[in-house]
């Protein structure tokens, strides 16, 4: 038993298989993203799916053909061009990853090229998401997470575990909506119910943890993407964000970006399970896209 486990833990990931798995899971994300994301471009969506499904049906190993990814890039680029300032950050990451796949396919399927591009994308995205929080006004004092906590948008599993948390956050949200109906701060200031004890302190600690974890994970991935500590930091960030916020879609993209950087087979499997859980969470609307 232990020997089998040790053998499994020691097994190296096969680079070609990792990349194939990455493309499959990224394609799954694109499908979820395109079908769930609100888009006014019905005809464009329709044409896009006809083009993709035809290629999947008629072309052998379509996922490894540039045309397939050009179709995806075309669709994503049109949406980005039309709604640049409204587009979610997912769309930007999807485009970067699609470009990286195309570069890989056009360079004789050079695994090093794909790995390096995915590493840079993951590292920079993690770094920027931490850095943006660091330079944002009230964020570093923990006030923003505290506000999110009072709304029930932070530490979301507590909604299912604590009846007090669920009732308090629901009441707070209703008060906030009511307050927004009157101009400015006229009338009495509605007092909100603290959903957990020491909410301010909890929010402050988690704020600092989140900011520095994201920044350090970003730098670690950027400079040593295949090292165990880079994966440990990236995985801690992804799992931490999944527990506190419901950004399942974006987290899935980050995990997909980490797949080609896996040195061990068990890590590849662990990331795959995480991606599947996140995708399932999006489909049943437990988390956001």
């Amino acid at each position: 038993m232990w020997n089998k486990l040790k053998t499994y833990l020691d097994q190296q990931a096969n680079a070609t298989q990792s990349i194939k798995l990455t493309l499959q899971l990224f394609f799954t994300f694109i499908v979820i993203f395109s079908t769930r994301h609100q888009s006014p471009y019905v005809y464009l969506n329709f044409a896009f799916f006809i083009a993709l499904l035809l290629q999947l049906a008629l072309v052998t190993n379509a996922l490894m053909k540039p045309l397939f990814w050009y179709t995806i890039l075309f669709f994503l680029a049109i949406r980005l061009y039309a709604d640049y300032y409204l587009a979610a950050n997912h769309l930007f990451v999807c485009i970067y990853l699609t470009l990286a796949i195309l570069v890989y396919l056009h360079t004789g399927k050079d695994e090093g090229v794909l790995r390096k591009n995915f590493q840079i994308i993951l590292g920079l995205v993690l770094f920027f998401s931490g850095f943006q929080k660091l330079i944002s006004g009230g964020y570093t004092h923990g006030q923003f997470f505290e506000y999110m906590l009072y709304r029930g948008d932070f530490l979301w599993p507590l909604k299912y575990l604590s009846p007090h948390f669920a009732a308090a956050t629901q009441a707070n949200k209703a008060l906030m909506q009511e307050a927004a109906q009157s101009y400015g701060i006229a009338g009495t200031v509605p007092l909100l119910t603290a959903p957990i004890p020491h909410a301010a302190a909890v929010a402050r600690v988690l704020t600092h943890t989140s900011v520095w974890l994201e920044i350090v994970a970003g730098i670690a991935v950027l400079f040593s993407g295949k090292k165990w500590y880079a994966h440990a930091l990236a995985a801690a960030t992804i799992i931490g964000v999944a527990i506190t916020r419901q950004e399942f879609g974006f987290l899935s993209l980050l995990t997909i970006s980490a797949l080609p950087l896996c040195r061990w087979r068990w890590l590849l499997h662990a990331y795959t399970v995480l991606i599947v859980l996140l995708h399932a969470g999006i489909i049943i609307r437990l988390g956001f896209l």
Partner: protein, 149 residues
Amino acid sequence: MPNKPTGLLHYLQYYGIGTLLLLLAGWQMYESGWRSLTRWKGGGFGMYAEVHYGARYLWAKCGAGTQPVRLDTLSTQASSYHRALLNAQRQPHIQHLAELGLQAGAVLGMAIDTLEVWAPNVATISNGYTMRPMVTYIPATNQRIQHVE
């Protein structure tokens, strides 16, 4: 096995996408830091770095003595095209938001002299829920006043 490219082509293959990401994220940080774009949008990956742009409210004032009107709640009074205009709180860029607010006001026959964007005041949340003005926009002089955070 094709020959490995060198020089610029090699750089583009390995670092071209990263450079593009850096340029766009840098541009977004300029836009959000100096031109009021929300950190949530524009490819800078600043989600959850500030209050969601959907929690902002657009108030219009039409002269002294009149009650301010919240533009984004008038949606049911207008046609679908104008509803899109009136759904101003979804506009992440305050510049766009102001333009849409003015168009919406024109459609509704309102002579708007001041537009104000309000957002939740997260600094005082444990002492009660208040809103604070983020930006005041005066269309006649094209003046934009950014309130201190």
